[in-house]
Symmetry: C2
Subunit: 135 residues, 2 copies
DNA sequence: GTTACGGTTTAGACAGCGTCTAATTCGTCT
DNA sequence: AGACGAATTAGACGCTGTCTAAACCGTAAC
C-alpha cells in the first residue's frame, strides 16, 4: 500500500496520519500474513528506524478500535492482526503456525440462531491441520 | 473429583500419581471453568501449599500429552485447559471473558470436506457475544 | 536400617508479549 | 520565536511460560 492511500484511510477514520502511523498502516493494512504486534514492529522498524515498540502497539490498538483491523486470538502466546474485517474463517497450519483466511462462503454453519439464552455477536470456524496438501 | 479416582485416572494413562499430580488432576479434570495454568496454580496451591508453579505447568503439559486435557487458544495472552477432550464448540462471553462449552451437535458445520488442498485434523466454531441473555 | 538409584519437585533465573508512565519531540497556530 | 496539545519515546513493569541445577522423594537391594 502506498503512502498517500494509507494517509487517506487513516484520515477517513478520524486518525491523524503521522509518519509513524502511516508506516504501520502501509504494512499492516496490506498483508495477508496475520502478523503479531512484534512482527509488525520488526518489519516497520526495518524500513523506518525512527519508531518505537510502544508506538506500534498504540497504533495497532487504535486501528482495531477504529475498525480498520481485527485482532485474532488464535496463535499461542500472542495476538495477531488481520486487515480483513469482513466475516471469514481461519485455518491454522499446525506445522508452521501460519494462519490462512478461509472465505465465509466456503463453509456453512447452521443452527447458530437456534442457540438459546445467548446473544451471538460474531462467530467463525477455526480449523487446524495441514495447509497445502492434496485434500 | 476425589483422591482415589484422580490417582486411578493418572495410573491408567501411564502417569505416576504423585501427591502433586493428584492435586492438579483433582481440580483440572473436574472443572468447566476453563482455567489458565496460573489459575490452576492458585487454586491448587490454596489447598496444598507444597507445590510449585513449575510442577503445575509440567503436570498440565503432561496431561495434555497423555490426552486427558486439551489446550485452547481462545483467551488473550494465555492458554486455557479443558478436560472435555471430545469435539465441541466454544462460546466466549465478551463481558467477563468466561468460556463456555457448546455441544458438538448444537451446531452444524457443512462443506468442511469440500475444502481443497488442505488436510483438516480438527475444527470448532468459536462464538463471541453475551452468555446468559434471553436469546 | 542404610545405601543407591531414577524419577519428581523445587526455587529462581530467564525470555517474550503487552501495558504504563514520565519526559521529550513534533506540528500548528499565533 | 513562543506556546500549546497531540504524538512519540525509552524504559520500567507485570504476566505467562520455559529451563536449569539442586534437593527431595520412594523403592529395591543389601
Amino acid at each position: 500500500m502506498d503512502h498517500a492511500l494509507a494517509a487517506q484511510l487513516l484520515s477517513r477514520h478520524g486518525i491523524q496520519p503521522s509518519a509513524q502511523r502511516r508506516a504501520v498502516a502501509e504494512y499492516v493494512l496490506d498483508t495477508v500474513a496475520h502478523p503479531s504486534a512484534d512482527r509488525v514492529f520488526e518489519v516497520v522498524a526495518a524500513r523506518n528506524p525512527r519508531i518505537s515498540r510502544a508506538t506500534v502497539y498504540n497504533t495497532l490498538n487504535l486501528l482495531v478500535r477504529r475498525g480498520l483491523l481485527k485482532q485474532l486470538v488464535i496463535a499461542e502466546g500472542k495476538v495477531v492482526f488481520d486487515p480483513n474485517v469482513r466475516p471469514h474463517h481461519h485455518f491454522v497450519d499446525e506445522a508452521s503456525g501460519a494462519i490462512h483466511d478461509v472465505p465465509w462462503d466456503a463453509l456453512d454453519v447452521r443452527k447458530v440462531e437456534a442457540l438459546k439464552g445467548v446473544d451471538v455477536r460474531e462467530y467463525q470456524v477455526v480449523l487446524r491441520g495441514r495447509w497445502g496438501r492434496r485434500g
